[in-house]
């Protein structure tokens, strides 16, 4: 089997690993996968932590190792968390954004306004008429909002940038 075919298999397997708290978005679409290198029977995957204190990081790492060990051609799996490049919320793919919405989480704003403010649309009704109840939420990456139109509380992925 050629390296590139094997790499494809690796990515396919990585797409089966989900955020343990959001089962509609895999780690590839979440933008957590950095460099992948395959040589002989060893695969090395660099992962980007979303938040440094996120308790899911250990679970995700274990699940990546499990998923990659399922590939018969691979004997050694090495998974590292790296800080370069830093994870930012604009790494989430279009598919990832759709997956977040399905789960009831508004995806992060694509673009921050020049004054640093941001706007998100309600994942249920699409309305931008909502209020930020708490910039912090049930996990490090989420905020709590309330939709004034459809009267639903909802969560939004916190925008994280290096600007």
């Amino acid at each position: 089997m050629t390296i590139s075919l094997l790499e494809e298999k690796v990515v396919k397997q990585l797409e089966t690993v989900f955020d343990p708290e959001i089962d509609t978005v895999n780690i590839v679409d979440l933008g957590m996968v950095g460099d992948i290198s395959v040589s002989n029977n060893t695969v090395t995957v660099n992962l980007l932590p979303t938040f440094l204190g996120c308790p899911a990081l250990g679970i995700i790492k274990d699940n990546v190792i499990k998923a990659l060990n399922a590939i018969s051609e691979i004997e050694n799996v090495e998974v590292n968390y790296v800080n370069n490049p830093p994870w930012t919320s604009d790494r989430i793919t279009e598919k990832g954004r759709e997956g977040l919405k399905q789960f009831g989480i508004a995806p992060p704003p694509v673009q921050l306004e020049s004054d640093g403010s941001w706007q998100v649309d309600c994942p249920y009704c699409g309305s931008p008429y909502n209020t930020l109840e708490n910039i912090f939420g049930p996990s490090a990456c989420r905020s709590i909002l309330y939709c004034k139109d459809c009267k639903n509380p909802f969560e939004a992925m916190k925008p994280i940038s290096t600007l």
Binding site: L52, G53, C54, N83, N134, F136
Partner: protein, 277 residues
């Protein structure tokens, strides 16, 4: 000079540089570690439920920042990150600022009648996050690249922390009656030890010379400028020269509050060091 990895540094055999780097990393790690420990003691006790969500999230992030600095120390051969965090029973081995180790107030979590001081907590966290941002902005250009990379990551999270504590600080200071009175008392109390936050300790010259972070004078100047600017917009007068009355934590000088904190937080570790934290 830029050093790109722990491996490169070890091969260079630059003893002075490595010593300065290790010292600075302990300062950064211990600051974040001990203030997040004090934050964890507020769980379930803060003024309202949204604050419980926010403060515990901030505390979790900050503990993550401590962990990544301990990881950088592990990479330099200082031992396992968990052992560094939990295995230093002797307080003179700790490099955190004294202001951060102080108890939240009388009593203990949870059933020992905690009478924690929210005003002091807001003031301490606000001063800390103002200082932390100044340091992180400087660390982004650190000569030790693994540290510069961590700084960029930490900064993206810590900006929300500063925003949070600034909101509390401004609102309570601008309130009337007990809130304002207690905030002023807390500012006076914290100011007596606040200089410990920007101190780079006995190795300050070596740390700056190595290009790890800018000099203590620069950090101090920026901290004072930031607080002056904030206080000008508030009904507050600048309190004058920052103090370090109880000594410099960077030199291993500490109060009994730190000893008590370490004894409590390392209790499980001492029973069984294999337990993950």
């Amino acid at each position: 000079m830029k050093i790109t990895s722990a491996q490169e540094l070890n091969e260079l055999k630059n003893v002075e540089y490595k010593k300065a780097l290790i010292d600075l990393l302990y300062q950064l790690a211990d600051d974040d570690f001990i203030i997040s420990y004090r934050g964890s003691e507020w769980l379930g006790l803060v003024p309202h439920i949204e604050e419980d969500v926010a403060y515990s999230s901030i505390t979790q992030n900050t503990m993550g920042h401590a962990a990544i600095y301990y990881q950088l120390l592990e990479d330099l051969g200082e031992g396992k990150a968990d052992d560094i965090a939990h295995g230093r029973a002797n307080t003179s081995d700790w490099k955190n600022a004294i202001l951060l180790e102080e108890v939240n107030g009388p009593g203990n979590w949870l059933y020992q009648d905690p009478k924690y001081d929210w005003a002091f907590t807001v003031v301490r966290n606000y001063f800390y996050e103002v200082m932390k941002k100044i340091k992180i902005d400087s660390l982004k250009n650190s000569s030790y690249e693994p540290l510069a990379q961590v700084a960029i990551k930490v900064r993206s999270e810590a900006l929300y922390h500063l925003m949070h504590w600034r909101t509390w600080f401004n609102q309570l200071v601008c309130a009337e009656g007990e809130a304002r009175r207690r905030m002023k008392e807390a500012i006076d109390k914290a100011w007596k030890d606040v200089a410990g936050l920007y101190s780079l300790g006995p190795n300050r010259d070596a740390i700056a010379k190595a290009g790890l972070i800018e000099s203590e004078e620069v950090l101090k100047e920026r901290f004072i400028a930031a607080i002056k600017e904030a206080f000008e917009k508030l009904p507050l007068e600048f309190p004058g020269e920052p103090g370090m009355e109880r000594g410099d934590g960077r030199a291993g000088v500490h109060t009994p509050d730190l000893k008590d904190a370490i004894d409590t937080l390392s209790e499980v570790y001492r029973l069984n060091p294999a337990v993950p934290w």
